[in-house]
């Protein structure tokens, strides 16, 4: 809240999201998205800012990363990303074939944390 930031309340959230008010259920703070393809000239200004973050990037960004980088509310970014996934501009990273189907998230997190101590 310090520094000369613009006030996010100056613009109503549904203006930023081109009228959309609801995020996809699978688009959460931690959801990682990568750039796909598609012309961006029809997108709204904030959606274009999201896409510019991905220009030339070798990797993805989570919804939270986008919100922090663009100083936009995470709830708004969830909706923007939902729209950009529906339009095909963004997509989820595709699991490699060797990604086991029973990939157990909790067990992987536990193993991962234990390997760090």
């Amino acid at each position: 809240m310090s520094g000369p930031r613009r006030d996010p309340d100056m613009v109503r959230p549904y203006v930023r999201t081109q009228g959309r008010i609801r995020a996809r259920e699978d688009v959460r703070l931690e959801s990682v998205v990568i750039a796909a393809t598609g012309p961006t000239d029809t997108l709204g200004p904030d959606a274009r800012r999201v896409m510019r973050l991905f220009a030339g990037a070798n990797g993805g960004l989570a919804v939270a990363d986008i919100a922090a980088a663009l100083e936009l509310p995470p709830s708004t970014v969830r909706i923007l990303v939902s729209s950009l996934m529906d339009s095909g501009h963004l997509s989820s990273p595709v699991a490699a074939i060797d990604d086991q189907p029973d990939f157990d998230l909790l067990q992987e997190v536990l193993r991962g944390l234990r390997s760090l101590v």
Binding site: M1, P8, D9, R28, L29, E30, S31, V32, I34, R49, R52, L53, G56, A57, N58, G59, G60, L61, A62, A64, D65, A67, A68, A69, L70, E71, P73, P74, S75, R78, P93, V94, A95, A96, D99, F103, L105, L106, Q107, E108, V109, L110, R111, G112, L113, R114, S115, L116, V117
Partner: protein, 215 residues
Amino acid sequence: MDCAPSSDRADRTDESGRAVTYVPATVTRSAKIVVAGGFGVGKTTLIGSVSEVRPLRMEEPITQASTGVDDLRGTPHKTTTTVAMDFGRIHMAGGRLALYLFGLPGQSRFQPLWEDLAEGALGCLVLADTRDLDASHDALGLLDGAGIPYAVAINTFPGAPEYPEAELREALALEPATPLTYLDARDRISSLHALITLTEYLTEHRPAALLESRR
């Protein structure tokens, strides 16, 4: 691409001059653990201790009704405040998995925010300070209400009073199975051990809803 995600990540500066740390291209899944607790209890410190990337901050404006006792018009004023949330990231599983840690403010007036942002969390680590245990009550109430499993960690501030575990459990009204542990949020290993305690508990008491939502 090798499997050392924290070293092959590409940092870049965005249009406003902040560094953007991309998620390595190896990552195909992500998960979220919430760190909750009252103001100043060490959420941001803990996230900074364990994150493999520089912690970032999001800001969410929330509108809330503020009814005053003198308000005779029956139309409560609405005020907008901005809630700051810090977060960090750990890469694991050979670079396939990114674990995000989000610090969420525990005050009960932020309940709408919680419903939006904590959804899908594996679980929550609630930080508490023995100098002000009451500050944890709101967070514990929010978690009980939302059905999010949690562990409690006492952040051991120098000079803070020490109480027997039974007294702490009673003061925090914890279920017998809920883990209660201690950490120094400034210390990476100590903080990681608390996250391991939480995750061990989650694997043993895995809510059915989690299994459904993850497929």
